[in-house]
């Protein structure tokens, strides 16, 4: 199987060698251009740099530097701007049935950011994306199966394409209802990967600094995180695609966002590489005749751009339409 994209890292931008995908002769017929563009290859790395810089900004708070205080569920930027996760905002609203100015001022900048970047949070800021990628690597090593789109629930009602989206909204709405009934933000407090990641992250730093920490927090959130990683091992990105209401909420922003996947005229060799490398099971080739793609599952990770047989000549991510 030569179809599967290896990480672009081992391809030197300037080497005349063909892309590893294509070197073994699987696809030559359909693809005319093999030239490798620097910036396209770096997209997956850039994504990691962004995540690591955010992590470092969060770490600075333990040195008492007031740049980014808090965690991924909500944080405080530059000691003045409140930021709150959109789904957490809705859940807090559902649980308390009232709204506060603080929450509103916190959610507006976040909504503004994602009106521009859509669901880019999932691909660029969510720590689970990185951890899931690590799990993917382990799974590929163990099973030798490079496919991202292993369909664990094939032929189940969960995996009937269009339905999966509806199920996701159903779960998100159900969680909001549970929050309203219980009177606590149920998902955000107990199940959220963001909260649990923050708890593990924060508690371990506090533990290391000999500050007050409840050990049950560390144990509970650690095991919740581990079970998510286990889920990822057996059902790749099932969490992101269907179960995670945070992502589903941000997915709604994809419908309006400025950032889109865009296609240029022609050149598509219909090799399907883009869909095969896509984490999120987005049906990219179904949208080729449209100027852009507005799938709620697209997290703008850029794997399709990198994986495209035409190397960025066809699929691209941009805020503006192509001329």
């Amino acid at each position: 199987m030569s179809y599967w994209l290896k990480d672009g890292e081992d391809v030197k931008p300037d080497t005349p060698d063909p892309h590893p995908l294509l070197s073994k002769g699987g696809l030559r017929g359909g693809v005319s251009e093999l030239k490798i563009l620097n910036f396209k290859l770096r997209l997956s790395r850039l994504r990691r740099y962004v995540l690591f810089s955010i992590t470092i900004l969060f770490l600075l708070q333990f040195l008492r530097i007031k740049v980014l205080v808090g965690g991924p569920t909500a944080s405080l930027a530059f000691w003045s701007i409140n930021l709150i996760n959109v789904f957490a905002f809705f859940e807090s609203f559902a649980a308390s049935k009232s709204i506060t100015m603080q929450a509103l001022t916190g959610v507006l900048p976040v909504a503004g950011i994602y009106l521009i970047f859509g669901r880019a949070f999932c691909g660029w800021c969510c720590p689970m994306d990185f951890l899931f990628e690590m799990v993917d690597k382990i799974r590929i090593q163990k099973t030798g199966d490079r496919r991202q789109n292993v369909r664990p629930l094939l032929n189940s009602p969960l995996d009937k394409g269009r339905h999966s989206g509806i199920i996701g909204y159903g779960i998100a709405a159900g969680l909001l209802a549970v929050s309203a009934i219980l009177g606590v933000p149920f998902f955000t407090r107990y199940l959220s990967h963001l909260t649990n990641f923050f708890m593990v992250f924060n508690s371990s730093v506090f533990l290391a600094l000999d500050l007050p920490v409840s050990k049950t927090v560390l144990i509970y959130s650690g095991s919740a995180l581990l079970s998510l990683l286990l889920l990822e091992y057996f059902a790749p990105r099932l969490w992101c695609k269907i179960l995670c209401p945070v992502g589903i909420t941000y997915g709604l922003f994809n419908k309006l966002s400025l950032l889109k996947l865009r296609f240029k005229e022609g050149n598509c060799g219909e090799c399907n590489l883009c869909e095969q490398v896509c984490y999120m099971d987005v049906k990219i080739t179904h949208h080729l005749d449209q100027p852009g793609l507005r799938d709620t599952n697209c997290i703008y990770c850029g794997r399709c751009v990198e994986g495209c047989g035409t190397k960025g000549k066809l699929v691209s991510m941009s805020l503006r339409a192509h001329k």
């Binding site: 930021l83 049935k97 933000p185 923050f198 924060n202 007050p212």
Partner: protein, 253 residues
């Protein structure tokens, strides 16, 4: 007997575990003291609304860390204590919410930054003077000031000063009494020189249930004949204080 039992327990290990479990209540003449509810950061909404609003984001705890107080910790699962058992799953509902964990080490500095920065409004902006995190209660059986000494460390540490403290000078020392104006920051708890502190902060709600017994104990002590007081001080309180003196060796961070 009035004021003879240790509020906080007897040995450092017990005390440490009591601190880990915020709802555990030691036994003593003041029933259930310290049980029932966590001490919330300043400006917290009423308990039920607070739990509904709080999304466990941890901003308050980290703001507290940045401000160098480190008072706020995130609550874990706690076994339901008697007052909470009636309400059912209080220990589970409190999971992930912030509270002031141990005022002996990390009292609240009343910087009032956490309510300012709470992203959901679970903590509302409040004046320092109007904060109501809890109320500090002095154990008359352990306090130096009530047993023949002049200490007053608590009143010197108190950011509210004379507004909170009443003093009853007498033969048995300069006896401090913390009145209802206390905001519950816990600075007095930290600066009490007695091993493990003779002061404990409890929530205002909890105070309502123990107020009558506490105040009557105070009044009884004030009107007690000298011989009886002498007996209590020398036969019970001072040995207890001496015993607690060994706890000074407890490691304070």
């Amino acid at each position: 007997m009035v004021g003879t039992a240790a509020i906080l327990g007897d040995n450092p290990r017990v005390m440490a575990s009591a601190a880990d479990d915020p709802s555990a209540g030691p036994k003593g003449p003041l029933p259930n003291i310290g049980a029932g509810g966590l001490i919330r950061p300043p400006g917290a909404l009423p308990e039920k609304e607070f739990r509904a609003k709080c999304i466990s984001c941890g901003v308050c705890a980290n703001v507290c860390h940045v401000m160098k107080y480190d008072a706020i910790a995130i609550a874990g699962f706690t076994p339901p204590s008697p007052p909470l058992a009636k309400g059912g799953i209080g220990g589970v509902l409190n999971y992930g919410t912030p509270y002031i964990k141990d005022m002996r080490d990390f009292p609240c500095g009343l910087c009032m930054e956490c309510p300012k920065h709470c992203p959901t409004g679970a903590l509302q902006k409040v004046e320092k003077e109007n904060t109501a995190m809890g109320i500090a209660l002095i154990d008359f059986g352990l306090c130096f000031g009530w047993n023949g000494d002049v200490c007053l460390s608590c009143s010197k540490a108190c950011p509210m000063g004379a507004k909170v403290f009443d003093f009853y000078n007498g033969e048995w020392g300069n006896q401090p009494y913390i009145n209802d104006n206390c905001v519950g920051c816990g600075l007095c708890v930290k600066y009490c020189p007695l091993g493990g502190s003779a002061i404990k902060v409890i929530t205002k709600k909890q105070y309502e249930t123990v107020k009558s017994s506490y105040v009557s104990g105070f009044k009884k002590l004030m009107s007690m004949p000298n011989e009886e007081r002498y007996n209590i001080v020398y036969s019970q309180n001072l040995p207890n204080i001496m015993e607690r003196g060994k706890l000074v060796e407890r490691e304070y961070r």
